[in-house]
């Protein structure tokens, strides 16, 4: 039944707001206040229960990092870009520091590099467990949420011991890190690794092999290999589609080239495969952590600060470093100048590849800083993959690509 134009006019004259909608489809707005959306909004058109069009309206957490970084000194940008993904703060700032180091032609000491790798892998596990938990609660499995977040606390606790804070470490500085590890740290890391290994089968039993969950995830949100490459998705979404790409593999940064680990790839391309990629990556990260901590324990005497830098430090700085392992900054570093030039760097964050483009004009601040985050590149999946699925698949697809809106919006 359609309403005639006359009736509409009558309604309008009474002050009723009348708007023609696409009468074929049922249009709903999901988010930003919606338990299944996070910090974004979907505009979904439904034909019955089938999604015919999904338009992600992102930008609800756009905090203008690129613009603000043009007015801040080089060192201040690390905490700034860190706020993109505080749950993955180490991985997300490392490529920025790498790009800066490329511009400054500076290398970190090997010990600092291993410490970075160690923290990055702890972060990756924490980030995957976070995503896993959110995914669990999206499909109504609150135990997965609680277990993921509970076990994440183990790694959060470890990084708190290493860096002094739970999430926003601001750990890297050009040419090194801000703290050395405490004496009893290796034992803790080993205990955590053994604990997490013993937990993995339980996760598989209650979540990954749970028939309800498997039915829910299988053949949902399928991205084929070629389509994944065409859309430019990254991270577990990419590796779940059978593409053997990982920045740690393609362009090893820090000391990843010397470490023995696997990059798991699954061929199916559906939500289940993407979840399995994360689980397998947690296992590999545990291996990397073990190797890094072994190296760090074997080379206890090696300094975090390169020798030539260490000699230049004032007496107090040396004392503090010897006593508590804290690397103090020099006031000269606040307004350090970086040689002009352009540099790009990429790194593998928990959600995928992060890309930095840094341009310096020789001043104390960057001329242009461009960040492309994994979630920003995965956002296109919503638009292209969701149509054709059922409404109830929206949280499944959302959770399986582990979209983190503050990261995408920057």
């Amino acid at each position: 039944m359609s309403i005639s134009e006359g009736t509409l006019g009558e309604l309008r004259s009474k002050g009723v707001e009348v708007r023609r909608i696409d009468k074929e489809y049922y249009e709903i707005f999901i988010g930003p206040q919606h338990p299944g959306s996070g910090h974004m909004r979907f505009r979904v058109k439904l034909d019955g229960d089938i999604i015919v069009d999904a338009d992600p309206d992102i930008g609800y957490v756009h905090r203008t990092m690129e613009k603000l970084s043009e007015g801040r000194e080089w060192l201040k940008i690390t905490p700034l870009v860190e706020r993109m993904t505080i749950i993955d703060a180490c991985n997300i700032t490392l490529p920025y520091i790498n790009a800066l180091e490329k511009l400054m032609d500076k290398r970190p000491s090997t010990r600092a590099s291993y410490l970075r790798v160690l923290l990055c892998e702890m972060n990756r596990i924490a980030s995957h467990l976070y995503g896993f938990g959110i995914f669990g609660v999206f499909i109504g499995h609150s135990t997965a949420y609680m277990w993921g977040f509970g076990d994440r606390e183990v790694f959060v606790e470890l990084s708190e011991i290493l860096t002094g804070t739970r999430l926003t470490y601001t750990y890297h500085i050009p040419g090194g890190v801000r703290r050395d590890m405490p004496q009893d740290f290796p034992q803790m890391v080993r205990r955590a690794v053994r604990y997490m290994r013993s937990r993995m089968p339980e996760y598989e039993k209650i979540f990954l092999n749970n028939p309800v969950i498997v039915t829910r995830l299988k053949d949902v949100g399928v991205i084929t290999k070629n389509r994944a490459a065409e859309l430019g998705v990254v991270g577990p979404t990419l590796r779940g589609s059978g593409i053997r790409y990982d920045v740690r593999l393609a362009e090893p940064y820090e000391v990843y080239g010397e470490i023995d680990f696997e990059v798991p790839v699954f061929e199916d391309g559906d939500a289940l495969a993407r979840t399995w990629v994360r689980v397998e990556e947690i296992k590999q990260s545990l291996n990397i952590m073990e190797q890094a901590i072994d190296w760090l324990e074997r080379h206890r005497d090696e300094p975090v600060i390169p020798k030539e830098d260490y000699d230049k430090l004032p007496k107090l700085h040396k004392e503090v470093y010897e006593k508590s392992g804290r690397v103090k900054l020099l006031p000269a570093q606040i307004s350090m100048k970086v040689p002009p030039g352009k540099a790009v760097a990429r790194g593998e964050a928990g959600r995928g590849e992060i890309f930095y483009y840094v341009e310096s004009d020789g001043g104390t601040m960057p001329y242009r800083l461009r960040v492309v985050t994994p979630s920003a590149r995965n956002a296109i999946v919503f638009k292209r993959i969701l149509p054709g699925h059922r409404l109830m698949d929206l949280p499944t697809v959302y959770g399986s690509i582990d979209y983190f809106a503050p990261e995408a919006d920057r």
Partner: protein, 204 residues
């Protein structure tokens, strides 16, 4: 409508209604608060039933989620994150509020049922934090009235737990929940909704 159900009459209109809703509500209020002295109970019940609405404004949501994780488990205070604003009484502003989000924040706050409370979490929700001079960030206390502020970026879960405890203390001390029954507003402050419309950029 039957006759003589409530026994209350609305005078001055020349009609007799049985069970005029306003009069009945006033009377019920008088009985609950005056005769039965249930104000204390209402305040007590509200302190143990602070259900935050599911509005994640920004990245402090990570620590918000961690507060409900097994290690800190804010459910022990009776706080349970709930889905629809109609059924909750409590907003935690988790970090930065951008201009787009400010609109959502105000709408969500207005949709919630009284009595309702707000905690502002993190530096960004107080004065912008790192983004104090950003063109896209607004200050949440210009959008909704805030009860408790937490410093930090992000504040750790125990700070959020502390904020919930402080809010509980504040509700009990200022009788915020029973004051709503008495006066229609929490009573400790005037109705503080700022005049400016955060949604004015939005065009359908």
């Amino acid at each position: 409508m039957g006759v003589g159900v409530g026994g209350a009459c609305a005078k001055g209109e020349g009609k007799v209604y049985a069970g005029n809703l306003n009069v009945a509500a006033k009377r019920a209020r008088d009985i609950i608060l005056g005769k039965l002295k249930l104000g204390e109970v209402v305040d007590w019940a509200t302190t143990f039933s602070l259900w935050p609405v599911h509005l994640v404004t920004s990245c402090c949501g990570a620590e918000f989620a961690a507060t409900w994780s097994p290690r800190f488990d804010a459910e022990q205070y009776g706080a349970l994150p709930w889905i629809s604003p109609r059924q909750t009484n409590f907003i935690i502003i988790e970090g930065t509020v951008t201009r787009k989000m400010a609109c959502a924040l105000r709408i969500t706050y207005e949709q919630m049922a009284h009595p309702k409370f707000v905690i502002a979490m993190g530096a960004c929700a107080l004065d912008g934090g790192l983004f104090y001079n950003s063109y896209n960030v607004v200050k949440p206390w210009e959008i909704v009235p805030v009860d408790v502020y937490i410093a930090g970026c992000p504040p750790p879960p125990e700070a959020l737990a502390r904020a919930i405890l402080d809010l509980r203390k504040k509700i009990r001390e200022k009788k915020m929940a029973s004051n709503w029954l008495r006066e229609g507003w929490r009573g400790d402050v005037e109705y503080p909704m700022p005049k400016e419309d955060p949604c004015k950029w939005w065009q359908p």
